[in-house]
């Protein structure tokens, strides 16, 4: 009975995190983006600096009619948002935020593989949406999504493999247990590549060609309305949370910090993830969108070689330090 309670509690916590953190990131994006552009952003909803803007948005989305285009493939069209969103919930389950058993939803032996595999599944949602909408722009968006995933999955995997090599384990908790501070400079190239590839996989600017509004309206999500559209948006922000959490865990040492006892490890994790989320927003505000071919070229001619070089470096250092 105690086990059941424990599992239920963990699931509940992860679910609450899943529902709140993306909103926090979204609200931060509203505000940070506004101030970076010399604006104030939302100021009314909720009273204090528009803190409830996204709640209001959610209410608005829930009120809207759920339209399915006449020519669409009805069932797949309706299923797609769930396929896009659920994987991130699953991934969140495996990200440890503090030391010990208590600070992770579920310890998974092959954690790195689990998170990367399940994150890749989320893209299927965009593909299904793009195809099932019976809309040319949606189809183009789906195509771009697929092309982007194929290009960026590889560097992401390779850099994650580099960390796994360094730690000698593919378990996320194991990687953090083995972490030393000098891993950060050692794996910095890998960290950058992982982060950039993750951005591309989430279709965040400057890699948002699949939803490029000035070219293809809103890509795969063009035909969506109401709650299903909101689910896609939630998936994007949940993706940011997951990506920042993963980068923190894999490359920045998660709960390790210059000071802070065991009890405060989770603060470090959240702090690092928050800084990364800020960087995600910062990049969005600063850079214009790449072109589709530039994106592919960027991945295949820069990120993949860089990640291979990182793996080579990791291997060399690993052999050298394990010599004596």
């Amino acid at each position: 009975m105690n086990d059941v309670l424990d599992v239920a509690l963990r699931l509940l916590v992860v679910f609450v995190v899943f529902l709140t953190f993306p909103l926090i990131v979204g609200q931060t994006e509203h505000k940070v983006m506004a101030h970076m552009q010399g604006r104030l952003g939302p100021m009314y909803a909720g009273g204090f600096h528009g803190w409830a803007q996204l709640v209001a948005d959610g209410v608005k989305f829930a009120q809207k009619e759920d339209v399915v285009p006449a020519g669409a493939d009805r069932r797949i069209f309706q299923l797609a948002p769930a396929v896009a969103l659920l994987p991130y919930l699953l991934v969140l389950l495996a990200i440890p935020i503090g030391p010990g058993e208590g600070a992770v939803g579920q310890v998974i032996d092959a954690g790195v593989f689990f998170v990367l595999a399940v994150m890749g599944v989320g893209v299927l949602g965009s593909l299904m949406a793009g195809w099932a909408s019976a809309n040319k722009f949606s189809l183009l968006g789906g195509l771009r999504t697929a092309a982007q995933l194929l290009a960026y999955e590889l560097p992401m995997l390779l850099t994650a493999a580099s960390v796994a090599m360094a730690a000698g384990t593919v378990s996320l908790v194991g990687i953090l247990d083995a972490f030393e501070w000098w891993w950060v400079p050692w794996q910095i190239t890998g960290a950058l590549v992982f982060f950039i590839a993750g951005l591309a996989e989430l279709q965040r600017p400057p890699f948002d060609m699949p939803v490029a509004d000035s070219e293809i309206i809103f890509g795969a999500y063009t035909e969506y309305t109401g709650l299903r559209f909101a689910l896609f948006l939630l998936a994007e922000y949940a993706g940011i949370v997951v990506l920042c959490g993963l980068t923190t865990v894999l490359f920045l040492g998660g709960w390790h910090g210059p000071w802070g006892a065991d009890g405060l490890g989770w603060v470090w994790t959240l702090l690092k993830a928050a800084v990364l989320a800020f960087v995600v927003i910062w990049l969005r505000v600063t850079y214009p969108r790449l072109r589709e071919d530039q994106l592919q070229k960027f991945s295949w001619t820069l990120l993949v070689p860089l990640s291979l070089a990182q793996i080579a470096l990791t291997g060399i250092v690993k052999v050298v330090i394990s010599q004596p």
Binding site: A34, H35, M36, G38, R39, W282
Partner: protein
Amino acid sequence: MTEPLPPKRPRIPGSGLAKGLAVTLRTMTKKSVTAQYPDTQPGLPPRTRGVIGLFEENCTVCMLCARECPDWCIYIDSHKETVPAAAPGGRERSRNVLDRFAIDFALCMYCGICIEVCPFDALFWSPEFEYAETDIRDLTHERDKLREWMWTVPAPPALDPGAEEPKEVAAARKTADKLAAAQAEPLEES
């Protein structure tokens, strides 16, 4: 083949990207320029083209404004009134009396030509701008409304230091000087 320009300074790859990041970060730390309009009223300069106010007493129903208006949004009705002669045995004079003066702000394009052409200073720009209506027909505002707006017209801005004297002041001064000279002359002669 044109010779490539000699590089001024060795360019570090990615320095442009870093510069872009710096710009956005710097903007974030600065105060934002958003005007929180309904909460704080904007401080608009005099002569802002908000709405047109009418100073009825100055209007002579010359119709210049209505005729010059490019989109014919000024409606003027008037009738003639005879004024009894001022002096006994004098001629009766006729005078124009304004019956209606209305501006359709749905048509008005805020060019300000009516204000420019008014020879008697009966029309003024007012910075007032909150006169939205839910029906387009309600945007035709009659003389009483235009008169109300007249009281929102701010005083003209002060002249720049060292600026030329306004023409009317200069003219008035000239006349005054002449008058003074004319009065002074007979004194000298006597």
